[in-house]
Amino acid sequence: MSTTASPSVPTEPPKRLPPMSASRLLSLFGPFIGLLLVTLLFSIRPDVREHFLTPDNFRIVVTQTVITAIGALGMTLIIISGGIDLSVGSVLALTSVTAAIFLRGHQSPWVALLAAITLGGVVGIVNGSLITALRVTPFIVTLGTLGIARGAAKWLAQDQAVNAPPTWLNNLVATYPEPSWLIVAPGVWLTLILAVVTAVVLRATTLGRRIVAIGSNETASRLSGLRVDFLKIGIYALAGLYFGLAGGLQFGRLGMGDPTGNMGAELDVIAAVVIGGGSLSGGEGSVLGSLLGALIMALLRNGSQQIGWSDYVQDIIIGVVIIVAVALDRLRHRKPAG
């Protein structure tokens, strides 16, 4: 497989590129640098490190990351294709409520999970269809569906949290999984598997290359005979399946469907993708980067709390880290100025 086609390093000027320069090294390990810096930050004080750098805490952080991370995987596809989806938070709420309702209606957990995933896909199809049919920018369409999906969630839940009997779904994102040889929650493994699949799709399949092509130059893609509209609907639908799955896991995590939950989750998810090297103008983004982006943010929240920083210090630090992480990323592959 061609390695130069990696979506995370597409704009390197070709000719005068030294074979393994510092910049190339940076671009490979860049996302890890952010992770390392954050980890170091919280490991300076011994009394904090003592609780921070422990397997237990690691387990907690990765479990906390799962939902954002799966959302970020879907969002990576969308962002690489030059789109954006603001409805993620609402879709998480909608699908988690759906799973809860199915379970409450004595369906099997499988059916409930499948229902959440399917509904996520349906919302994705709606998003994609509106974007392509009305020629309205994704930002606006998904701002609209943000409201619509949220309304639908509240309606389904009759304005109330939907409780459901405990099933194995609740174990999916439990901090201490059963069986315990899993070490981390099944949801974490699921995320990793999904990440690998997504990365392979992006690199090795025609679909993946076409997603990059659309994000890179939509007109050129259309003129090259790609069925851009069709593909876009497909991309939003695919990402929607991820969001639906994340919603199912969100249900598992809370043991209930919360119609008002996950507000603002879209910003977290988008931030994860962009911290990981995704470009909102399309064509760029990396699966690994997005995962690490999600992890960095969870780690920041976790560490801030352990160190005992107030809420406002946390707000400020996370804001700074987002900017710095992306600024570092821009240094890695600086584009020629106009």
């Binding site: 609780h51 422990t54 237990d56 805490n57 907690i60 479990t63 906390q64 939902i67 509240k154 839940a157 304005d159 109330q160 949290a161 409780n163 609740n170 439990a174 901090t175 201490y176 969100q250 995590r253 809370l254 043991g255 209930m256 919360d258 119609p259 008002t260 939950g261 996950n262 507000m263 929240r301 976790n302 709390q305 352990q306 005992g308 920083w309 107030s310 809420d311 946390q314 707000d315």
Partner: protein, 324 residues
Amino acid sequence: NHTTETGPSTGSAMPSVAPAGKSLRIAVIPKGTTHEYWKSIHAGAIKAQQELAAKGTAVEILWKGPAREDDRNAQIDVVQTFLSQKVDGIVLAPLDSQALVSPVADAAKQKVPVVIIDSALNSTDYTSFVATDNKKGGLLAGQQLAKVLGGKGKVIMIRYQQGSASTEQREAGFLDAMKAVPGITLVSADQFAGPTVDTAYKSSQNVLSRFGSQTNGIFMPNESSTRGMLLALKDAGLLGKVKFVGFDSSTDLVTALKANQLQGLVVQNPFKMGYLSLLTAVSAVKGEKFEKSIDTGVTLVTPENMNTPEIQTLLNPPIDQYLK
């Protein structure tokens, strides 16, 4: 910054649990941090801490809440992180009766006692429950409104937010009280005030614009919504003309009560809640005896009774004395 308060460590009476020189670490997790209500709880907990210190038990309070009062995920994260920090005990005001069940179960597995405060949890894994009877609070508010209305009239209630258990109970209690009075009709009870004073203000304006002219009485289920409604009433020139009962207290609301713009406020005793919950948690950690369930009581404050000394302490909890 008053994130962590460490009492003077004067050695410990129970070295088996808290070895000499090492204080007990108790996490206190509110639903939010901005409302005065939570500050009172914090202050109450500090009072307990100081008393315990005087008796020779050093306690460190780890005070941390989620950024938003509706962010269940964030509160779960907070609990889990404290567990990984190996705190000795937890005092928790659960944002949700269901969502916090599993982290509390985790705590039980790790033998960390959890005292639930303020709102109920659908679980048996906790150690003790220290809270207000919110339904009773709503009922009190309804009875007061019915009384000042003389048993008849048209009434508005604007709800707080979806999925907030404590306010839902207040609302339910209020509705029960209204049902008991045949002369009263509810003209609007299905709109929401939203999380902030600003959202409550807009919502109140919009509802008053339609029903204001025919309304005789209003109930709002918490502090921010009561404040928003006061602003909207002022706008519409209805202050004092419409009977109004609110919930929870703050400086502004007390002023309004004094001016007879409010005919009643149902207040809880968060200071006591904070105080008792910390004592209970410490007792549980040390293996001493403690109450399984404590009701900290709700009180109806009216313009008439507001100057009595008991009510005054309720309205002005000694926050400043404990929180610098």
